[in-house]
């Protein structure tokens, strides 16, 4: 009796095993739309939406923002057939726009239009237009994105000068703009006009800390893009207040984040351009507190290479000439720093240079007193700076 019972149980277990050969809630990659880029703009109702609304196909909403998702279409059988002809350029990606007042609702609206619903695991870049960020706080715009369980906190956040939709479009065949933008931040070793990447998690902690911060700015023209400068976000409102130009960023980079590369150009007395390539830069912001007076001193020391010299007739790279050039480059960097400090303190009245961090670390008690209204306090704080440039070599040509 018992034996036959065990036999039945064994058979049952074996049958159950067959039923067990899959994932419970699996979702095949072919059945979902993977989006890699997300653009957030102020509401612009698209032709399509206007068309369907005429037929009464709308739902109650305010026209607050337009979300653009950049979908990477899966390689289908159809595409392989055409294989030989490198035809339509827009094949590498697909931009979809929808308007509404809740990002998650917009996302869910997509499932009414496409058979393959969106999944956010592979979102690489979020572009916010400055226009939208001027009107709404980033805390509001990013609330869903920070809560969502699909979107990873490693996603990069950029701000676009004009339209986020444009920033996610390209004419180049085979190029996915979102991936291209995500790759640009890796070029920091070549340019000090790129700020360290701001990922979602960094954005979140910057917003929570209440200090002002920067986001890299994307400028677009003729469907091509370029990183240029950075958008400034005020800590108290988390709204876009203005922009730092490329030159400002260069100035900022000398003391605010480590310079890994770039080119510092100045003009020789005769008017020819001479360029210095920073290789190894160190900087220090030293806060000083005397009584109630706070002041900062910036110390920059940079080593690099004389990489281009247009002087004609050529001047041999003698030691004395190098010293002269060093002075010249120092002057140039000083000019840049002065410019960005002026913008921070007197134009926008925000601290995006990390001065607050140094004060917090060195004088935590003072910081606790001034942190509430730091941006205002900061605008009246005297800042001095000294720069020490050193040309260590002149490349493979000695004259």
């Amino acid at each position: 009796m018992k034996r036959s019972l065990y036999f039945v149980l064994r058979i049952a277990a074996a049958i159950l095993l067959i039923l067990n050969t899959g994932c419970w809630s699996s979702n095949e990659i072919e059945d979902v739309s993977v989006y890699v880029g997300l653009g957030l703009d102020v509401a612009q109702v698209s032709e399509f939406e206007r068309g369907i609304e005429k037929q009464g196909a709308s739902y109650p909403r305010e026209k607050v923002l337009t979300a653009t998702v950049q979908i990477v279409p899966p390689i289908t059988g159809k595409g392989q057939k055409q294989g030989g002809s490198s035809s339509t350029p827009s094949e590498a990606y697909m931009n979809e726009k929808l308007t509404g007042d809740s990002i998650i609702q917009i996302f869910r609206q997509f499932s009414l239009r496409r058979d393959r619903p969106l999944i956010g695991h592979h979102l690489k870049v979020i572009v916010v237009s400055s226009e939208l960020a001027k009107r709404y706080s980033l805390e509001q715009i990013f609330d869903f994105i920070l809560r969502d369980n699909d979107i990873r906190p490693s996603c990069l956040v950029l701000v676009s000068h004009r339209n986020a939709f444009e920033a996610l479009s390209t004419n180049e065949p085979g190029e996915v703009p979102a991936l291209y933008l995500a790759g640009l931040v890796d070029n920091r070793y070549r340019s000090n006009k790129i700020i360290p990447p701001v990922t979602l998690i960094k954005l979140d902690s910057a917003m929570q800390s209440g200090s002002s911060f920067l986001l890299q700015n994307v400028v677009t023209a003729q469907n091509d893009h370029k990183f240029s400068g950075a958008g400034i976000f005020k800590g108290s409102t988390k709204k876009w207040v203005g922009e730092l130009s490329q030159l400002d960023l260069e100035g900022l980079s000398w003391f605010s984040f480590d310079v890994k590369g770039g080119a510092l150009k100045t003009y020789a007395p005769e008017g020819y351009s001479i360029t210095y390539e920073p290789k190894n830069s160190k900087s220090k912001i030293i806060p000083k507190v005397e009584g109630n007076d706070i002041s900062f001193h910036i110390k920059v020391s940079s080593e690099g290479r004389l990489i281009e010299d247009w002087s004609f007739p050529e001047i041999p790279s003698s030691g004395q000439y190098m010293r002269e050039l060093e002075k010249q480059f120092e002057k140039e960097a000083r000019k840049q720093i002065q410019q960005v400090l002026h913008k921070m303190q007197h134009v926008y009245r925000v601290d995006v240079g990390g001065f607050n961090k140094q004060l917090r670390i060195k004088y935590p008690k003072v910081w606790n007193k001034v942190k509430e209204d730091w941006d205002e306090t900061f605008s009246n704080i005297p800042i001095t700076y000294e720069i020490d440039m050193k040309i260590t070599d002149f490349g493979s040509s000695t004259d």
Binding site: W24, L146, D204, S205, R360, I361, P364
Partner: protein
């Protein structure tokens, strides 16, 4: 199945005892630890709180070992009547058993919540929980030896992968997030001790396992190792999480440790994303916490009523499941965990000390040589 007693084959080595403590301690807590500590202390110095509470736990652990060593080969449920008399012992035993059951349920619930959110969205909670519990049941039926041997396999895997995943986050680590040291004085550090104590629950398992040790003289060593390893793991976790995300970032994330691993991608390595890996090894840790508490609770019942342990193991299964499903949402689940963490501080920080003092005064039990 030897049932009530530890037969000759139900014995564990010193290192197995240590591994059991470690596996019990490392559980659901590590995913939320950085947040709970920062919430309480509001400072980046919370890693010091971990060191301090580590020392406190070492003392508490030492007391427990001292107590158990006086009653060789007996678990807390067996020797307590000798100290306090039958009825008080019965009540305290019931509390301890309830505690084990609830911790077991809590771990299961958190496991279901996290896997449901990050890993298996759409799979019903009962499907995740039940398979988990059945496998656990199968393990427990094998007795303490099987449990210990499985833990010995789990532990190195979890340690290696955990450290890889956490240390890879050094790419977003910024030491400035941890500075200034003691910027707001020592007081916040002390406030951080309480939440970190909660994550050290687990050393109490020695109240049970010392009885099974082949060489009880080394119980102290096992306890030490069992506490020091989690202290190091917690320390690394908290430092890396705060260094990577800053206290402002940590405070608002539900699962900061997971989010840390989600905050970077490693290109060119075999994996680009490590959170699934972390979740998998961490589920193993939850599994071990769940099984050991389930086992301890069942063993408690069986020794209390001097009956075979087997039926109790089965009987505990639905009880644990039902308790796990009581909290209506995740916040209630966290509250439940906090509550029993608090209970544990008094239960296993206070009572063993009292028991030890009484037994010394009344000269109960054998003095350890």
């Amino acid at each position: 199945m030897s049932g009530i007693n530890n037969g000759p084959k139900d014995q564990i080595t010193t290192s197995q005892a240590a591994v059991m403590v470690i596996n019990y301690m490392l559980g659901a807590g590590i995913l939320t630890l950085p947040r709970t500590m920062v919430e309480a202390a509001k400072t980046s110095d919370v890693w010091m709180s971990i060191l301090i509470s580590g020392v406190i736990i070492l003392v508490a652990g030492w007391v427990i070992v001292k107590l158990c060593r006086r009653f060789q080969g007996k678990t807390v449920f067996q020797f307590m009547p000798e100290i306090t008399g039958k009825w008080i012992a019965f009540i305290i035993s019931m509390i301890i058993i309830t505690y084990f059951i609830t911790i077991s349920a809590f771990e299961i619930r958190i496991m279901a919540e996290v896997t449901g959110f990050y890993l298996l969205e759409g799979t019903p909670a009962w499907a995740i929980v039940m398979t988990f519990m059945w496998v656990g049941l199968y393990l427990i039926l094998g007795g303490i030896n099987c449990i210990a041997r499985l833990y010995e396999i789990i532990l190195p895997i979890t340690l290696v992968f955990f450290l890889i995943a956490i240390l890879l986050s050094s790419r977003i680590f910024d030491v400035n997030h941890l500075r200034p040291l003691l910027g707001s004085g020592i007081k916040p550090v002390l406030q951080g001790i309480k939440p970190s104590l909660l994550s050290f629950t687990g050393y109490e398992i020695m109240l049970v396992t010392t009885a099974f040790m082949k060489n009880p003289k080394k119980a102290n060593k096992a306890m030490m190792a069992g506490i020091v390893v989690p202290v190091i793991i917690y320390l690394i976790t908290v430092i890396m999480v705060i260094g990577g995300m800053s206290i402002n970032g940590v405070e608002k994330r539900t699962w900061p440790t997971l989010d840390l691993v989600r905050s970077f991608e490693v290109q060119g390595l075999f994996f680009e994303r490590f959170e699934s890996l972390l979740l998998v090894i961490w589920i193993m840790q939850i599994f071990s916490t769940f099984t050991v508490t389930h086992y301890a609770a069942s063993l408690g019942w069986s020794q209390l009523f001097k009956k075979n342990v087997r039926p109790f193991i089965f009987a505990m299964l639905p009880v644990i499941y039902l308790i796990a499903m009581i909290p209506k949402d995740i916040n209630e689940a966290f509250k439940l965990g906090d509550m029993f963490g608090n209970v544990s501080v008094y239960l296993f920080g206070g009572i063993p000390l009292i028991l030890l003092l009484i037994s010394i005064l009344l000269k109960k039990g054998a003095k350890p040589n």
